[in-house]
């Protein structure tokens, strides 16, 4: 929990155009990406954003497609806000926060069409690849969502698809090639703190924010958006947030590209 005077302090700074750690409003903390972090995952990435650390792991299995998309593989994104990452998180089934986090990242990836789901079909109507992306925050230093989105896409780029045996079962630890991806969708969330639009907040700034807007984009397009928080944005603010988020995503994408060897 944040105290009133600390909230007040952060809000006053924001009104004066300042942040506690001296960053510009649209300035991210240092972003580091380490792929291949979890060796038993088909793909993984550990993202460090200042104090925040999020691990994403991808598991591949073979399953039956949904009837309405019989020629497509299945993408699933799941997130757990476990108590190791923050004194505010609890055990138990995912609550609203974790579910929203997973869904925002899921839509960013899905709507960008970066994964060719048809290419994940093994035998139509019968067997397809099931791609499970699990988001695992290690330390909540604020802005888990952007870190998680970057971790997810970096982990997907790290995926090595296993070979299949005669019974169409994956052979663990083998590599038949990388998962093919077309784009790198990057979520960038803008937080409204006392009217100022701030990016990549630490956890105190995040706790002081009245509203947030996540904009996921690929080169040339915005692909998903989500507004959250108790307060609202003005039209002008939404447009500015989208523009800044798009520009910021372009910067961050370069870091991802480098990390995944593109």
């Amino acid at each position: 929990m944040i105290t009133k005077i600390d909230k007040e302090f952060i809000k006053t700074l924001a009104r004066e155009g300042k942040r506690e750690d001296g960053r510009a409003f649209d300035q991210f903390r240092d972003l580091k990406i380490e792929t291949g972090f979890a060796k038993n995952a088909e793909g993984s990435a550990l993202v460090t954003l200042g104090e925040t650390r999020v691990l994403a792991g991808v598991k591949l299995s073979v399953g039956t497609p949904f009837a309405d998309t019989a020629n497509e593989g299945v993408l699933m994104v799941n997130a757990e806000l476990g108590p190791k990452a923050s004194p505010e998180f609890e055990t138990g089934p995912p609550k609203e926060g974790a579910i929203e986090l997973a869904r925002v990242i899921d839509r960013g990836i899905r709507e960008s069409k970066c994964i060719d789901l048809e290419a994940l079909c093994i035998t139509p109507k019968e067997k397809v690849w099931m791609v499970s992306v699990d988001i695992d925050p290690i330390n909540d230093g604020g802005n888990i969502l952007d870190a998680a989105g970057i971790a997810a896409i970096a982990a997907l780029h790290d995926v090595k698809i296993p070979k299949l045996d005669e019974d169409v079962r994956p052979i663990f630890g083998t590599n038949s090639g990388k998962l093919k991806l077309r784009h790198i969708p990057i979520p960038v969330t803008t937080f409204k703190v006392n009217g100022a639009l701030v990016m990549d907040p630490d956890f105190e700034e995040e706790a002081s924010a009245e509203a947030r807007l996540t904009v996921t984009s690929v080169e040339g397009f915005l692909c998903a958006m989500q507004k959250g928080g108790e307060s609202n944005f003005k039209t002008e603010e939404v447009v500015r947030a989208a523009e800044t988020a798009y520009a910021k995503a372009t910067e961050l994408r370069e870091v991802v590209k480098q990390a995944v060897g593109l």
Partner: protein
């Protein structure tokens, strides 16, 4: 008692039993279970326990030996445990009919009754207690009492006690509070003087800072948090504060 006094020629108050051996040296880092000393002459102080004639550490911390006999370990980490008389910075967590509950950064929520919280007469029919302290407000209070079962009571009936306005708060490891205050308040006075900030240090590890250079004061506090276990802290602090003053 056959005197083997060689080891303690300078200060040994009394000869030691030949079975008494000091294993860990003063100021060394020890972990839970680590053997510090054995023998009848050594007494277990805070942060230690004695079992089968051996004094061992309970915590990760620094060994402190007093009068060559009393062994304690100053923890390098850990939570605050309230103690009667402590001055603490508390955050109001709930307002009830005639009392407040406050978070004192401890495993136990503290209780502040109306009579201990406010000096003036309050007519509960007419008055809303949030007028005095509301949820999220920060106060400097004294721990009035702690029962065996850890019921913690606070009081505002002390010269320094008040609601804090403005500035901001930070948390340090509560076990490092004595180092932040320094001998006779020397360390905190140094920081106050060189930064010109108002600073209140709660025994519970919360620090309230207000002033133009509060970010510098905060950095100085963090220096204590990070480096207090390494010798020469006062000198490094002076150097740090002087270097900052030159820049400004």
């Amino acid at each position: 008692m056959n005197g083997t006094m060689e080891e303690n020629v300078e200060s040994a108050p009394a000869p030691m039993d030949p079975g008494s051996v000091l294993i860990a040296s003063n100021k060394s880092i020890v972990v839970p279970g680590e053997l510090i000393a054995k023998g009848v002459d050594f007494l277990p102080g805070s942060g230690t326990y004695k079992e089968a004639g051996e004094v061992r550490s309970k915590v990760l911390g620094l060994v402190r030996i007093k009068s060559d006999r009393l062994i304690s370990v100053v923890p390098l980490s850990g939570q605050y445990m309230p103690f009667a008389g402590d001055g603490v910075i508390a955050v109001i967590a709930d307002v009830q009919i005639s009392s407040w509950m406050a978070d004192v950064n401890a495993p136990y929520v503290a209780f502040l009754s109306l009579s201990e919280g406010v000096e003036e007469y309050v007519d509960l029919q007419k008055s809303d207690l949030t007028h005095y302290y509301d949820v999220g407000d920060v106060i400097y209070a004294k721990v009035l009492s702690v029962s065996k079962r850890k019921d913690v009571k606070l009081t505002m009936r002390d010269r320094m006690c008040r609601k804090l306005h403005g500035g901001n708060t930070m948390k340090i490891t509560p076990t490092k509070v004595p180092r932040l205050i320094g001998k006779g308040g020397s360390m905190i006075e140094l920081i106050k003087q060189k930064t010109g900030c108002h600073i209140i240090v709660g025994q519970n590890g919360l620090v309230w800072i207000k002033g133009e250079k509060q970010d510098l004061a905060a950095e100085a506090v963090l220096l204590v948090e990070r480096e207090s276990h390494v010798e020469g802290l006062t000198d490094r602090m002076t150097a740090f504060l002087d270097s900052i003053q030159q820049v400004i």
